[in-house]
Symmetry: C2
Subunit: 188 residues, 2 copies
């Protein structure tokens, strides 16, 4: 997606060869126009699929999740990172964060995932794909179908994307970074 | 806002006299249509103000924040609840959560708040208003102007709303709950 790649080149900051800071438009300050355009782009790329629900993970997935939900005209469900006191009857899975080197739980209320749901999972970043393994298990617990995965920025030099493609998952990443080296970003 | 009040009556669950669960459309599953309509409603109610930035707090404020940012055609900044490792130069304030009975830090990068910003703060709920005190201090640190506060659901039986109105803050709540008693919700 040209608009996103241009914005990454203009405003992304390479912190180290594996960390890209996109706080100025994606996950601290949010460029609402780019966000909504990404939702529309997912709609284009998954137009053949009968998607009736968008799924994401709080907090950084919520904005892109809402953008997708608006484009598809379906509800958004966001997995919570800890079990709130007022919620029972949850699907829960443990995810290992490669970046933060900790385990955390993601959970979704059983009320909001059903066996007839056709789900598009969206997120801002894809690196190792650990969070998606948790999401796949939650969707499986619910007996629902994960029909696709839409990502804003895939780190092509980390294994998540290729693992998913090899599994036959319909994965669409709007920008795939091949390499971030010597202050330069290359896309695939 | 009629649409929101009807949805609260239809789908809100009273957990106890101070806790309303709106997980089915506002903060776990999100009704994208209602969310975007709330953004438009804020635009109507604050149309006289020259707002150039929407501010909210992760995670539950992000969706309504994006809806407002789209309606106003300005960027959204969301305060983070802990200091990420890759971010320096932050405005930080401590907030006491009445519901969870803990203190937490909210922080905003100095890059994204400037002295010429005219800010609308939006959030899903207003109860004691403790989070807003933290936001007021952060906006003050930045030398920016908090020109208004837009809330989806105000708990009118808790003090936050009246404290802010007595301070002269331009506060707009789309639904104000007077009382949640014996399984019945009354709006002001």
């Amino acid at each position: 997606m040209k608009l996103l790649k241009e914005k990454i080149l203009k405003s992304g900051e390479i912190i180290n060869p594996t960390t890209l800071k996109v706080d100025s438009f994606l996950n601290h300050q949010i460029d609402a126009t780019i966000m909504m355009e990404m939702g529309k782009e997912f709609k284009k790329r998954f137009k053949e699929k009968k998607i009736n629900k968008i799924l994401t993970i709080e907090a950084s997935g919520i904005a892109i999740g809402l953008a997708a939900a608006v484009a598809f005209d379906v509800p958004l469900v966001f997995a919570k990172k800890k079990k709130p006191t007022t919620m029972e009857g949850m699907y829960v899975e443990t995810v290992h964060s490669f970046t933060k080197k900790v385990d955390y739980d993601i959970c979704v209320s059983k009320e909001f995932l059903n066996s007839d749901d056709k789900i598009l999972f969206v997120d801002d970043f894809l690196a190792t794909g650990n969070a998606i393994i948790g999401i796949q298990k939650i969707v499986e617990q619910a007996g629902a179908e994960l029909v696709g995965i839409g990502i804003a920025i895939e780190k092509g030099f980390q294994p998540g994307g290729n693992i998913l493609r090899n599994e036959g998952v319909h994965l669409e990443s709007l920008a795939i970074i091949d390499k971030m080296d010597l202050g330069k970003i290359n896309f695939i």
